[in-house]
Symmetry: D2
Subunit: 347 residues, 4 copies
C-alpha cells in the first residue's frame, strides 16, 4: 500500500523500451539529435503553440527554476501560493537561479484567487515605481496544485488576466500537468493559452527523469539555453532524455497514464470518504488527496504496511487528528487502493 | 568513423540492463534506496576511503560545480589550468555555484606544474592577508587532462603538497577518472589519496548520465546535499542513477570499459603517427589525442564521413595546418580506428 | 512642518566639525587610521562587549545586509517581522548579499511575539533536517520597529532565547538604536546582551552617512571584512566615516540627539491625540508615530506645507480614512511640532 | 614624504565648505534634492552628452561594479587588462554584482592593444555562438591605467571600435579620469565619445567619497537605480554626495586639482630619472609612477619617513631590485617631492 508519492513508482515499460531503442551507435550530443526536433514538433502540436521552444531537463525543480529565472530579473518578486512547490520544497532553487524573491499569496485549497493575486501585486507596487521595493515579476501557478486540486481553464485565464493587466508574465508549474489535463478533460492548448512558460512534467507520470521546459516566446530560448548550461542541466547524452519524452508523448501515453493515476485516486477518495473518522481536507480532483484521521488510525495503517506522509509525526503528542497525503501514480492498482480503504475502515 | 567525443556513443548493455532490473515496484526516492548504500560502500572500498561520502548527479559539470562550491567561499579563487573544463566548457557553472573566481595556471600538455601552481598561489596572496584581493581557494586538477595527457600519482601528490602547504583543498575533475586509472595502471586509491573531493565520471565511459561526487571529509556532505537540492540536481527517482553507477562499478566494468577506450586510442595514435603530414600535439596517454594536419587532409577525412572536432573552421582561410581532437569511448571498434588511419594515410 | 523621515534633516554641527578636524594631512586609508581604534574601544565600552569587532559602513541597508550575510548560509531563511525594513524597503539587498530567504512573522505593532517566532522556526524545520526546505537561519529584530514601537530588554531577551533554543543567531536592525535606548532608559549593554550582530545607526540621528556594524563574535569579523570589500562598501578615505562616528559617540551626543527626537515626537503624539478625527495607530514610543485621519485632513495639512508620507495616495478615491507616518529627528523644533498640531486641529 | 596613494590625503577645502553649505534644513532624500539636477546638467555639458544619466555612489568599486553589472548579463565575460583594478583590487566585486567572468588581456604599460583585445574577444567566441562558453560582454578600459599611463583619445576610439565591431559595450574605469583629461589636454567629451558607461572619480582627487556613474544610454538608468539600491549604495542623506560633486565640478576645480597632482608627479619623475640606480618602469604620464630600485635604497627611504608601496616585502631575501609605486594627489607639495628626490639621491 504505497501512496507516499508519485516519484516512488517504476517507469512505464514503453519509456524503458525507448531508452533501449535509442541506444544505437553514434549521435550528436547536447540535444542536437534528430529526435529532439520531433519532440518539439509534437509538443507544439499538443499545446497548440507553433512558435514555442522546448528544452528538456531531468528534474522538475530545474524546469521551474530555470524558467522563472528566464522570466524575471534579479530585483523582481515572483507571485505564488504559499504552498507552492517553489516555495516549500525546492530549498530556494528558484531564488538561487533567478535572484528574485517570492511573494506568497493565500487562498483555500492551495489556489490563488484573482482578488488575492491582484492585492499582492498591487501591494508590491504601492506608490508607483519605487527603487526601495522589489519589483513585480512573474506569476507562477501550480496545476495540479500542491493540495491535489485544479485550476480550471477559466481560472487560469482569469489569473493570467490579472498578471497581464500589470504586464507580468505567467508560468505554470505543471509537474502534474498531465493529471490536470486528464482530470479537466480539456484540450492541453486551452490550459496553456495564456502562459509564457510551462514546466511539463514526465518524471512523476511514468518517466525516469525528464521534464519539458516550454518557452512560448522563442526569443527567450537562447537565454534559457545559457541558463541551463550554466546551471549544469544540459545533458551530454541528451538522447536519453529525448527518448523518454518522445515515448511519453507518443499515442497519448502521457494522458493515458495520468488518467489511470487519477482514476485510482478517485477510487481511493471515494472509499475513504465513507470511512467514519476520516475527513478529506480538499476536493479530490486529480491524483493526490489529503485527509485527516485520528493519530491511532494512521499508526494502525502504517503498522499494516501503508506508506504515506503525515503532516505531523505519529509518535508526537500533539493534536489527536493528523493530516496526511496520499498520491497515486500510473502504476497504482485497484487492489492496492481497495486494500488501503479496507485497512482504513478496519482501523 | 566517429571520434567527436566520448559522449556520442551508446550506453553499455550492462548499464541498460541495470535500469530495467531497478524498475520494479515502489522504492523511496531522493537517494534513500538501499542500492545507494551499496554504491557508497563500493566506492569507499575502491578508493580506499572508508569515511568518504558519495553523492550522485547526472552531469559532470554538476559534480564539478557543486564540489568546488562546497570547498570554497564566495571570495575565493580556484586554481586550475587555463584549458580546464571548468574554465573552458561549463559556461561559468563553477562561478555560478561557488561565487568564486578562477585563477588560470599555464603549463604544457594541459598540466599545471608545481612551480607554476606555487607561483599562482603566492601571487594571489601577495602582501599577506588583504581584503582587496580574492583569497586563495581550492586547487582543481583535471585527470585525464583536456589534452588527453595524465597526471601521474607522483605528480598529483606533488601538486596536492603545494596546495596543502598553503592550506588549500584539492579537487580532481575525473570525468575520465577511469581512463586515467586504467592508463596509469595504478590503484584508484593511489590517485585520490591527497584529494578533498573527486568528480568520478560515468557518463563518458558507458553510462547514460551519472557522475559520483566523492567527498572525502564526511562533515562536508550535508552542505553538498543542500547545494545539490538547491541547484535542482537531486533526482526524485534516484534509483536510476544508482542503478547505473552500481552496474558501472560491478566486476570492474568501469576499468574494463576505460581500458578498451584507451586501447582503441593508442592504436589510433600509433597509426596516425606513421602518417606523413600528421603530427601528434601531445603525448597520447589515455583515450583522447590531438593532432595537426593540413586543412585539406581534414576536409578529405570529413568528406569520407569522419566526425571529429577541429580547432579552427575548415572553410576559413587561416593557417595551413589545423589542430584537431579525436576521442575514443568504450565502443570504438578496431575496424573503425583502422579505417580512419587508412583514410588519413590516403589523404 | 517636515516629518517625512529622519533622513531629511541636517547633520549635527559637532559631526560636521569633526569632519573638518579630520581633514588634516596624510592618513592611512581603509580604516587603518588610529581614530578607528578609538571608535571600536568606545563602542565596546558602551555596549559592554569587550570582544566585539566594529566596522563602519555608510548606509543602514549595507550594515543589515552584510551582517545578515555573515550570520547566514545561502540555504538559510532569515526570520523577521513582515514589516521589517529588510523585507519592505531594501529592494532585496539582504537576499542579494546573503543568498538566503526571508520568512515573515506577524505580530501587532510591528513586533514579533515569541509564540509567533517559535511557530515560524518550528514550521521551517518540520520533520527535522530535510534537504528539500531552506534551513532555519538568523532572527532579525528591528528596534525601534518600523511602526515606532519598542522591544523592551525583556522582550529582546525572550525572543533571543527562542532563537538560541534552536541554535540560531540574532541580529538587531538598530538604525534607530539610539532612539530605542533613549526611550527605554536602559543601558545600551542590556539591549545587546543576547545579540550576535547589531546595526547601530548614525545617519538618521545627526550623522551624514555612517552606521556601525557590530560583530559580537570576533571570529566573524574577517568574513565581514571580505564581504564589505566585495560589496564595495569599504571606504578608502575611511577617516571621514570614523570622524562622524567618533563625534556621534562622544559625550553621549548620540543619546542626547535621540532624546530630543523622542521628546519632539512625544509632544507631537500628545498633541495629535487630542485632535478629534485623528487616531494614533500604534503606541507612540520613540521618534516615529502613525495616525489615521480623514483624507480631507491630510489634504489640508499638505496644503499648509506639511510634509509626511501617507499610506495611500491622497488623490485616490479609496477609503475615507488614511494612515500616515510622522518622524522626528534631532532637529525637530517644538514650534514646528506645535504648528503641526495646530494645523491638524484647525483641519 | 607621503606617496602611498591618492586616497591618503585630505579633502579640498571647497568640498568641505560645500558640505557645510548643504547642511541647512530639510531636503528630500535619496537623490531627489534639486542640486542633483544641477550635477547631472553639469556633467552632461562637460561630457558633451545631453542624454546621459548620472548617479552618485561613494566608492569607485561601487561605480565600476554597478555599471559593469548594468552592461552585462550573468553569462558574459568582461574584457579588461590583467592589471585592471576590477581584476586586482576589488575582491571580486564586479563578479559579485554582475555574475559575469573577467577575461584578462595582456599588454605593456597596463594597456590593452587592439590586436590583443580583438584576439581575446575572438577566442571567447570560437566556433560561433556556443552554449558551452561564457559569452563576450563589455570591454572595460582603465584611464589613467593602473601603471600610471594613459590611453589617448585615439587609442580609446580604436579599442571601442574593436568592441563595437563585436557588438560589445564599453566601460571606462575613470577613478582618475580627471588626471587623464588634464594630462591629455583633451576635451572630456573626446574621451567619452565612444563609451557606454563611465566611472568618474572624485574621491582620489580632492573629494571625501563620491564617484559619478555616468550612463550614456538613459534607458539603462532604471536598472542601475535598482542595482544601486539592492547593492545598498543609495544614500538617504544624498545631498552630501551631491554637494561634493557639485563643488568638485564647479569652476573646473576637478581639472585644476588633477593638474596639480600631475605636475607634482612629473616633477617627481623627472627628479628620480636623474638618480643613478633608479629606473622608471613605465612612461610617467599622469599622477602615478613606478620605479625600480635596490632593496637597500627602498629601506633607506622608508627609514627617512617615506611612505609608499613596494611590490615585494623589503625584509624578504628575493630579488636585489624591487619595484615600487608613488602616487601624488592634489595636495602633494613641491617641497615634499623635492625632499623625496633628494633622499633618493642621497641613498
Amino acid at each position: 500500500m504505497f501512496f507516499a508519492s508519485d516519484n516512488t513508482g517504476p517507469v512505464h515499460p514503453s519509456v524503458l523500451e525507448a531508452l533501449s531503442a535509442a541506444n544505437e551507435g553514434y549521435l550528436p550530443s547536447y540535444g542536437a539529435e534528430d529526435a529532439m526536433g520531433r519532440v518539439t514538433a509534437s509538443l507544439r502540436e499538443i499545446l497548440g503553440a507553433p512558435q514555442a521552444e522546448v528544452r528538456l531537463v531531468a528534474t522538475g525543480t530545474a524546469a521551474n527554476a530555470l524558467l522563472l529565472a528566464t522570466l524575471s530579473r534579479p530585483w523582481d518578486t515572483i507571485f505564488c501560493h504559499e504552498l507552492a512547490h517553489i516555495e516549500q520544497d525546492e530549498c530556494g532553487a528558484p531564488e538561487f537561479y533567478s535572484d528574485a524573491k517570492l511573494t506568497l499569496v493565500n487562498g483555500p485549497d492551495a489556489k490563488m484567487g484573482p482578488e488575492a493575486l491582484e492585492a499582492a501585486i498591487t501591494a508590491s507596487a504601492t506608490g508607483g515605481r519605487s527603487v526601495h521595493q522589489v519589483q513585480a515579476g512573474p506569476v507562477s501557478l501550480t496545476n495540479v496544485t500542491e493540495r491535489g486540486t485544479l485550476y480550471t481553464v477559466d481560472e487560469v485565464t482569469t489569473l493570467a488576466g490579472v498578471a497581464r493587466a500589470h504586464g507580468l508574465p505567467v508560468h505554470m508549474d505543471g509537474s502534474r500537468f498531465a493529471n490536470a489535463v486528464a482530470a479537466l478533460g480539456c484540450a492541453p492548448s486551452d490550459l496553456v493559452r495564456d502562459l509564457d512558460a510551462l514546466s511539463l512534467g514526465g518524471t512523476k507520470n511514468g518517466c525516469m527523469g525528464v521534464e519539458a521546459a516550454v518557452i512560448f516566446d522563442p526569443e527567450k530560448a537562447w537565454e534559457f539555453d545559457l541558463r541551463r548550461k550554466r546551471g549544469a542541466h544540459l545533458f551530454s547524452k541528451h538522447r536519453y532524455l529525448t527518448a523518454q519524452m518522445e515515448a511519453y508523448l507518443a499515442d497519448g501515453l502521457w494522458l493515458d497514464l495520468a488518467g489511470r493515476a487519477n482514476a485510482a485516486c478517485a477510487r481511493l477518495a471515494e472509499g475513504l470518504a465513507s470511512v467514519p473518522d476520516i475527513a478529506l481536507m480538499h476536493p479530490p480532483e486529480a491524483n493526490m488527496i489529503f485527509f485527516e484521521a485520528p493519530r491511532a488510525l494512521h499508526a494502525a495503517l502504517h503498522a499494516k504496511g501503508a506508506r504515506y506522509a503525515t503532516m505531523a509525526p505519529l509518535d508526537g503528542d500533539g493534536a489527536a487528528r493528523i493530516g496526511a497525503r496520499l498520491v497515486c501514480d500510473w502504476s497504482a492498482r485497484e487492489e492496492m487502493v481497495d486494500a488501503f480503504v479496507e485497512a482504513a475502515r478496519a482501523g
